[in-house]
């Protein structure tokens, strides 16, 4: 698979603050990389360096194999970029703005018309083309900025928080657009919304304090949670003891803990080793002891937990 985005050991300081501290990454054609991290972790700075907007103190970035700092014009021609906050020239109409972008990207009149039409179609902007961008709603503004980024059908697409400020329907549209385009592009999407990572990204990177602290698929990341694949059970209070005893007889189960009681029910969590019992096995075990479990489910955890775990503890940083 062709690597279309490549960053090597990017470093950037602003005064005394180390914004980006040795970030390297690769994104191949067909991949959508989710870029996660708390505010101020260095996400945007990293993206600005990969797009060639900011010069790194050291390190290199390549877009489609072209060095962004040695041959910026050629690299930028292959890049579509949605900067943070989706800035556009507000005094222009959406149509004039997109035509300006098409013209400066080197399309002749005929081709420009086709490109603008295609981008407008994909982002569903037709109804507001004649309006000044300043007068548009936030959702439309963002879509104008996205249209600008995909207008030349770039091989590489870098989007800084593409769905920020959109309503759920618009978010869904943008995610679908990203998924549709993913096949023949390499895409980086930064986001705060972790469900988005599961929805559109084939891989995610979490950065904290300018360093990559986790890198993998959503599943890989969730596997890092201590309670990943743990079994959650709820039983009536009187049977909790018996159930917990029954569970500990399972070789695969390393520990059973009670995590709370309410309404005469007790919630138990059974931590499993690698070979966790299948739910059906569990069910038959419970039945054989004449215990009536009100609820049995596998705890998968979610990315929010992973994110919090990794970015709030110092221990998280040492995992890198």
């Amino acid at each position: 698979m062709a690597v279309l985005i490549q960053a090597r050991d990017l470093n950037k300081r602003f005064g005394d603050i180390v914004a980006v501290d040795g970030i390297s990454l690769e994104v191949a054609k067909g991949q959508v990389l989710g870029f996660l991290g708390p505010n101020g972790a260095g996400k945007s700075t990293t993206m600005k360096m990969i797009t060639g907007f900011l010069e790194p103190d050291s390190g290199s970035a390549h877009i489609a194999g072209i060095d962004v700092f040695e041959n910026p014009r050629a690299a930028k021609a292959k890049l579509g970029y949605l900067p943070e906050g989706a800035p556009c020239y507000g005094d222009m109409t959406a149509s004039a703005f997109l035509n300006f972008i098409a013209e400066i990207r080197g399309f002749d009149r005929e081709a420009a018309r086709a490109r603008v039409a295609a981008a407008v179609d994909k982002t569903q902007l037709a109804s507001v083309l004649g309006q000044k961008i300043d007068t548009l709603s936030k959702g439309f503004k963002r879509r104008v900025a996205i249209a600008q980024a995909i207008l030349h059908d770039p091989e590489v697409l870098i989007m800084d928080e593409p769905t920020d400020g959109l309503d759920p329907n618009q978010k869904h549209q943008v995610r679908r657009l990203i998924t549709e385009m993913a096949r023949d592009k390499a895409i980086i999407v930064s986001t705060h919304i972790l469900e988005e990572v599961e929805a559109v990204c084939s891989r995610a990177i979490i950065i904290n304090r300018g360093r990559i602290v986790a890198d993998g698929t959503a599943e890989d990341l969730m596997r890092r949670l201590p309670h990943h694949n743990a079994i959650r059970l709820a039983v009536s209070a009187g049977r909790a003891e018996a159930l917990s005893q029954a569970l500990s007889e399972f070789a695969a189960i390393s520990k059973v803990e009670s995590i709370g009681a309410a309404n005469g029910k007790v919630e138990l969590r059974a931590l499993a080793n690698a070979g966790a019992p299948r739910p059906t096995e569990l069910a038959s075990l419970i039945r054989s002891r004449f215990i009536e479990a009100e609820e049995v489910r596998i705890e998968r955890g979610n990315l929010d937990d992973v994110f919090r775990q990794i970015t709030t503890s110092d221990e998280g940083a040492s995992h890198a």
Binding site: F14, K48, T51, G52, F53, L54, E55, P72, R73, A74, K76, A77, L79, Y81, P83, E84, G85, P87, C88, Y89, G90, D91, M92, A96, F100, I101, E103, I104, R105, G106, K132, Q148
Partner: protein, 248 residues
């Protein structure tokens, strides 16, 4: 070279249209014509002098430009930085020079439009008498060159900040210094305690003294070179400032 011209042209077109998409253009053009006219007729004594020339009209251009040109230049980069579009602009497949030149030329063309609208003055003076049209023509050129120099300075300053008001004040102050260094009052103060060549150097750096020479009909190579190098220097500074201030 072809690419430079092409991309600068596209940027310039966008920028030029930008002036007219807000009331700024209309306000500026009206104020410009009103002030150049008022200065020429009242302060310059256009009629009372009884001479068929436009000297009273051009005489006040440096002082007017002090305020009006920074007002045109202030938005060039400060606005890009404030709205974040500078990130968009600088990740398009163009070089920074193309963006700088395009913006500068658009602003210059805008001042050119303002100057063109004062052509009725020229016509009037031709109806009233027989002026030296050559001198008037070179004066227009000189005025445009001076505006270009102020604009280039204003553009560079505008890249320093995201606040247009600050850009305006700083640019106006620098232009003021460039004008004042040719005023006798300032030069006399210098004469008291500096050797003659310093006074000469300061005076030769003045936008005013070069402009005076041009409006007297002497459009010498040194003056043209002076203005053009001032423009080149300021635009070069503009390039460096953009590079340095991009991050914040």
């Amino acid at each position: 070279m072809h690419e430079l011209a092409r991309n600068s042209w596209i940027i310039a077109k966008r920028e030029f249209a930008g002036y007219f998409s807000s009331p700024l253009a209309t306000v500026f053009l009206i104020v410009f014509i009103a002030l150049t006219g008022a200065f020429a007729f009242y302060l310059g004594g256009f009629f009372e002098r009884g001479q068929a020339d436009l000297a009273p009209f051009f005489q006040y251009h440096p002082w007017l430009y002090l305020l009006l040109v920074p007002a045109v230049a202030m938005r060039l980069w400060a606005e890009e930085r404030k709205s974040g579009t500078i990130e968009l602009l600088m990740t398009l497949p163009i070089s920074p020079w193309e963006a700088i030149l395009g913006k500068f030329l658009a602003a210059w063309a805008f001042i050119g439009v303002a100057l063109l609208l004062t052509i009725p003055m020229w016509i009037t003076v031709n109806i009233l008498g027989n002026p030296d049209n050559g001198v008037i023509f070179t004066s227009y050129l000189g005025s445009l060159l001076m505006a270009g120099a102020f604009l280039a300075i204003g553009s560079a300053i505008s890249a320093l900040t995201r606040n247009q008001v600050i850009a305006f004040i700083v640019a106006a102050t620098i232009c003021f210094l460039l004008v004042m260094s040719g005023v006798e009052l300032v030069l006399n103060v210098l004469r008291v305690w500096t050797p003659d060549f310093v006074v000469q150097a300061v005076a030769s750096m003045s936008v005013l003294s070069h402009f005076d020479r041009i409006t007297k009909g002497v459009i010498g190579l040194p003056s043209v070179v002076f203005y053009l190098s001032l423009i080149a220097f300021a635009l070069f500074a503009n390039r460096i400032i953009i590079e340095l201030k991009k991050a914040d």
